[in-house]
Symmetry: C2
Subunit: 212 residues, 2 copies
DNA sequence: GTCTATACCAAGATAGAC
DNA sequence: GTCTATCTTGGTATAGAC
């Protein structure tokens, strides 16, 4: 694979000892960095060193914190699913004239700003053959499906369609279709059709990646 | 990552010299094997040795044939896109009482039987940050979108919805949701809702993987 | 809590024989 | 056209110091 241009600023060299920090705080920082890198390069395509650099700590420390790279990825998936469900629950509880289904869609699209979150999930979703990752991915996907039916009140068809559009959104982000927005009218039309309201968010993700 | 249980029979040991074969024939065999493995494990998660074993040839020979692993993956993507477009064109040309949109959907779902084809595409789609892979993925995705509009006659909305359901199907396969069909009623309902007609194909993909 | 140093293995690629 | 042997790199994980 050719080297991937990066979004995340890598000027954070891990060489200089990171300032001491409570381990749970540090843990969150590393999880966020890992989410960004995994989202961009996928599970196998990511090295623990890339995560460490993005988080501004040393590579062995990342491994030390999570045990193995796989456990780190699983933690990323769980955090992503928790964040997603929390956003949905918030959107559901919200007082608003906007219909619930739309509010859910907007809540989902808003997660695009959480760098790599939806894409890390997507990478997990397509690795169903891996025993651990697959188990987590299926459980998470079904949790969302059930929530849409039981709590939001969608029919199976509505929930399935909602998820389909979510997967489409994930794909458009993953494929970086927004990079073609200005130069390819078809890409532009597709983006404007597939995500009319939240286009701004996607376009904000254009340009060279910020991860090292 | 824990080791992935396999679908493809690995009894094909490369140790015994493969019988000589015209290079384009061998090329196709390797491409098919590569499609299956890449579909299951993704680009970075696949080794050229796994591909070689699945194809029944030696690892250096795989590299020799395609130059690099990345070129092999790109060849897999191109072959997958060609196969997909050919299936669509065939479904379009077909005489039938079934409406075109349905015929397209069925043609797509039928590709599930081509082991790893749709999943290799999906893995490519989520690697848009990689310069080469991303370029190919975006071009292929847009080619399909344009075909749906220009040749099939879909509106942008219809084409976008069609693609959304395609991505949903890919995801359900990738996540191996069919593995839960018998034991989880929610998984079953979701599968029956998302792919009512072609469920049989998906279920056929259940069970231990056949790739080594 | 965090680092440096390093062991160890896996994997892509090359050389060269048959 | 296809293999065996091997070089080389890069990446996870461990040991141990501060």
């Amino acid at each position: 694979m050719s080297s991937v241009p990066q979004i995340i600023d890598s000027s954070a060299t891990a060489a200089v000892p990171a300032t001491r920090m409570p381990s749970d705080e540090r843990r969150v920082l590393v999880l966020e960095a890992a989410t960004a890198v995994f989202g961009q390069r996928g599970y196998a395509g990511t090295t623990t060193d890339q995560v460490a650099t993005a988080a501004g700590v040393s590579q062995p420390y990342v491994v030390r914190m999570f045990g193995t790279k796989e456990k780190l990825f699983l933690a990323v998936l769980h955090r992503a699913l928790d964040t997603l469900m929390a956003a949905f629950r918030r959107a559901l509880a919200e007082e608003s004239d906007v219909p619930v289904h739309s509010r859910m869609g907007m809540a989902y699209a808003d997660l695009l700003t959480d760098r790599g979150l939806l894409l890390s999930l997507m990478h997990g979703f397509v690795l169903g053959s891996d025993p651990e990752i697959g188990k987590t991915a299926r459980a998470g996907f079904l949790e969302v499906y059930l929530f849409l039916k039981a709590d939001v009140g969608m029919t199976p068809e509505e929930a399935s369609d909602f998820l389909a559009h979510g997967m489409m959104l994930n794909t458009l982000v993953g494929i970086r279709m927004a990079d073609e927005y200005d130069t390819n009218p078809d890409a532009r039309e597709l983006l404007e059709t597939a995500m009319p309201t939240k286009l701004g968010l996607l376009r904000g993700l254009t340009g060279p990646d910020k991860i090292q």
